[in-house]
């Protein structure tokens, strides 16, 4: 071997596959592109359908007065609820993480639990008790109370891990408490707030059940209606508009997020700052918390109990003899399988995003969020279309298709959790492990997964509880003869048989609460607690 040599003549050496010896993460890239392709199926389906209908027909369907109404309804609801969630979620997170609020450990758990209550159960609770809770006003109240934890969770986590020294420096530089909160604390949490708002806005775009009960018309309710009356071209045209809205939301998120990165000192040197004193303000703040929890948690649970205890006699008698236990079993099994599948799917994408950043890879990761803003019914139809068309109906009518549909729908939620967890397993630890003689797979098992484990469980839980409360895709894809808690609840609710619907709502809440408590605990863990 020559002792010297220039770059150029080395490249011509025999056996060199490429000018760069450095290996691209081929397995990760392949996995990620595969996942991205699967996630793109609904959009491809919409485009195929739109092409079948013809451009002029689609344009005709889009440019009619109805679209304007839907646009106005959807946009104003999304804006108002997202803003409300941002304020409530951020303030609640700051109070729990950074102040001496009495009972904040218990509050930290209770404030997350509303995530476990299906949106349509919240709206059922309000609407069945108070007739005025409907339309735009009802939708704002119900959706804010149902989804604000999506902002609370990431903001609380980022406040917990942010450097408290920055706040102290700001105070020392003469900035008051309020100014410090606005300039430093909000700055530290900006990415988390934006991320939470992104989830809220996308979830709102895709929500169906709650709006149906409240009699509020959005794109998604209309798309559902059109699908059910078999006007596919109309629903596809509307879905395309909805996809555009989702892209706008993603773009807005990218703008807010900016290019700023939060620099952190090593995780092991993390200091815990003393909590801010609320002083006399703590009792009103505590009262506000209790009011929030009563409204978000008390009303739906109370309504369910009220209808069980005091309900009218069953409207549907006899025939619908669905066992609560069977439905709960199906719900749990499907949701668990979906949680597992989504977590596994998101692993390569998250790994790529955390460990091998790049422009294309970033775009690939961001694009997967789009699916969250699509109505479940569109995704369900897309899956049945492709299985019928290209897989000879393989899996159609089985639970497999439903599980795959859940995994696609809630993939972005899994991605958020897996990314957060992989960030806890820095690449330098992998390198040390490899230098100590461990092969890649051993490193994955002994280091990466061990450190990321709690976060992976959190990702699983997030998908699990979303799948438990999913309605529209389930109604379409559920195997014949089976019922889940959500579908059976829906059957009773739409027939106004509240006393029969209520037990299903209650069991649904119970099944989904356990994972939400796990979630709350994961996002609350400090770096220290890892030992």
């Amino acid at each position: 071997m020559a002792a010297t040599g220039t770059l150029a003549d080395r490249q011509d050496a025999p056996g060199r596959p490429s000018p760069q010896r450095t290996r691209r993460p081929v397995a990760l890239l392949t996995g990620s592109y595969l996942v991205a392709a699967v996630l793109a199926l609904p959009l491809v389906f919409l485009l195929i359908e739109a092409r079948g209908a013809g451009a002029s027909a689609v344009a005709h369907l889009i440019f009619r007065p109805l679209t304007g109404t839907l646009l106005w309804n959807t946009v104003r609801l999304t804006v108002v609820v997202t803003a409300a969630c941002a304020v409530i979620g951020t303030l609640a997170a700051w109070c729990v993480e950074r102040t001496d609020l009495p009972g904040r450990r218990a509050l930290a758990v209770l404030v997350v639990v509303p995530l476990a209550i299906p949106d349509f159960v919240v709206s059922f609770g309000w609407n069945s008790l108070w007739i005025w809770a409907q339309g735009f006003r009802g939708a704002v109240i119900v959706m804010t109370l149902a989804v604000y934890p999506l902002v609370y969770l990431p903001v609380a986590a980022s406040l917990r891990s942010a450097d408290p020294g920055q706040e102290e420096v700001a105070r020392a530089l003469g900035s008051g408490r309020v100014r410090t909160f606005v300039r430093i604390t909000l700055g530290q949490a900006r990415g988390a707030i934006a991320g939470g708002c992104l989830l809220v806005a996308l979830v709102l775009l895709a929500e169906y059940g709650a709006f149906e009960i409240l009699g509020y018309q959005t794109f998604t309710t209309e798309i559902f209606y059109e699908f059910h009356s078999y006007s596919f071209s109309a629903s596809c045209a509307l879905s395309l508009v909805l996809v555009l809205l989702g892209m706008l939301v993603l773009a807005a998120d990218g703008l807010v997020r900016g290019r700023g990165r939060v620099a952190r000192s090593g995780p092991l040197t993390q200091r815990v700052s003393p909590p801010q004193r609320l002083g006399q303000a703590r009792w009103p703040v505590l009262a506000a918390f209790i009011a929030l929890i009563l409204l978000a948690l008390g009303v739906p649970v109370g309504a369910a109990i009220y209808w069980i205890v005091d309900g009218l006699p069953p409207v549907l008698s006899g025939g619908a003899n669905v066992s609560l236990l069977d439905a709960a079993g199906h719900t749990t099994a499907y949701s668990a399988a979906a949680g597992l599948l989504a977590t596994v799917m998101s692993f390569p994408v998250a790994m790529l995003a955390i460990r091998h950043s790049g422009r294309m890879r970033h775009l690939l990761e961001r694009s997967t969020y789009l699916v969250l803003g699509m109505p479940g019914v569109v995704i369900a139809f897309a899956l049945s279309y492709f299985t019928e068309r290209y897989a000879a109906g393989f899996g159609y009518g089985t639970s497999m298709l439903l599980i795959a549909c859940y995994a696609i729908m809630f993939f972005p939620l899994a991605l958020v959790g897996v990314k957060a967890s992989l960030a806890r397993a820095p690449v330098s630890l992998d390198e040390v492990a490899r230098s100590l003689g461990q092969r890649r797979l051993a490193v994955l098992g002994r280091v990466t997964l061990r450190l990321a484990g709690p976060g992976l469980v959190a990702a699983f839980c997030l998908v699990f509880l979303s799948a438990v409360t999913e309605l529209t895709a389930t109604l379409l894809l559920i195997p014949t003869g089976t019922q889940t808690l959500a579908t059976q609840f829906w059957v009773y609710e739409t027939n106004l048989s509240y006393s029969q619907a209520a037990p299903f709502a209650l069991v649904m809440i119970i099944v989904a609460t356990l994972p939400s408590i796990v979630l709350g605990r994961f996002f609350n863990r400090t770096a220290q607690a890892q030992g």
Binding site: G5, T22, V432, S435, L451, A527, G531
Partner: protein, 349 residues
């Protein structure tokens, strides 16, 4: 105990060339420091040796085995490299004992006798059941070292291992580490930007500049006979003066001085750059020497560093002088400068 040999090593990230043909021979059993300013590519060089990155061209050989070459690449787990990263990077989910035993086969891991022995070697016996976050920075660093030594590595690579320690701790941990390596007879390569650390810890020092090894020598040679004027300024304080050489001596602003003939570049006649270390200059109140006035006085306890403006040239370059003991000289004090012994010079172009 193996030697490490690097030849013609190139590495670029995108269009940015970081290593531009590095050649380095590290003898078995020695402690070699790679010294360079931040961004000079020294960490990249270490990561290539460890196998975390692949070189674009060139070869790395450990013992008789080529580990990175045009057609060969040995992954890090098969290189038997003990790697001690900058922050220690202990596994936070494992106890100290499990950290140290991480690289051992499962059979040797059980019982923990070997890990306990290594902890004793680094002076941490009895702390095996603690978790990393319960240790101080210096202790974490030692655990990282014990973990690297556990696999009986052919070579130990240390990436700025003392940078995160405070000054007081740094000196003691450094001395301990040096002692541990001497006893174990391990080949060790240490990356640092701290010239003090490199000169005092290593047997040999390689200075990395613009992606190449600018000089590779024992610490004394590096300081006394730097390869060029630029290096002289990088390693320690230096007065670099213009001068004209003739007949074994050089004429400078500080008088006609004898030339050191043992320099890396032979100098005979003409324009030269002269190196005068601050401790080569004597201060005297007497008539003998170049008169000047003190412009600043920095007191360090063991010595003091002065800046002196020669009187013949009040706008010109100031001279740095290091004195041991002696009176406090406030700015404005008149002094005379006298150079001791022969000086080093390089031809100027």
């Amino acid at each position: 105990m193996r030697d490490v040999s690097v030849t013609g090593l190139y590495k670029a990230f995108g269009t940015h060339l970081v290593l531009a043909g590095v050649d380095l021979e590290v003898p078995a059993g020695s402690l070699t420091a790679i010294l360079g300013p931040s961004g000079s590519g020294k960490t990249t060089l270490l990561r290539l040796m460890a196998g975390f990155e692949r070189a674009d061209a060139g070869t790395i050989t450990i013992g008789d085995t080529v580990v990175d070459g045009p057609v060969v690449y040995v992954p890090p787990e098969r290189r038997r490299i003990g790697y001690v990263p900058q922050e220690g990077s202990l596994f936070p989910h494992l106890t100290v004992q499990a950290n140290v035993g991480f690289g051992l086969p499962a059979r040797e891991r059980r019982g923990g006798a070997k890990a306990a022995g290594l902890l004793e070697l680094v002076g941490l016996d009895g702390l095996g059941q603690r978790y990393p976050h319960e240790l101080s920075g210096g202790q974490q660093q030692r655990v990282a070292l014990a973990r690297a030594l556990a696999i009986e590595p052919a070579v130990v690579l240390l990436d700025e291992p003392f940078a995160s320690l405070d000054a007081h701790l740094r000196a003691s941990v450094r001395a301990d580490v040096q002692e541990i390596f001497r006893r174990a007879g391990t080949t060790a390569i240490l990356v640092t930007h701290d010239q003090d650390e490199a000169l005092s810890t290593a047997d040999r020092v390689a200075v990395l500049r613009d992606g190449k090894i600018a000089q590779y020598a024992v610490p004394e040679d590096l300081y006394d006979r730097p390869a060029d004027a630029d290096l002289a300024g990088f390693i320690g304080d230096a007065n670099l003066l213009e001068g004209v050489a003739s007949a074994g001596a050089v004429k400078t602003r500080l008088g006609r001085l004898p030339l050191d003939g043992s320099g890396p570049v032979p100098v005979h006649e003409g324009q030269v750059t002269v190196l005068i270390r601050p401790e080569q200059i004597e201060l005297g109140p007497g008539e003998d020497g170049v008169p000047g006035r003190v412009t600043s006085y920095r007191y360090h306890g063991h010595d003091a560093v002065l800046r002196v403006q020669p009187e013949d040239d009040t706008a010109g370059q100031q001279i740095t002088v290091r004195v041991v003991g002696g009176p406090h000289l406030p700015p404005g004090s008149p002094v005379t400068l006298r150079v001791r012994g022969p000086v080093l010079a390089w031809p100027r172009d």
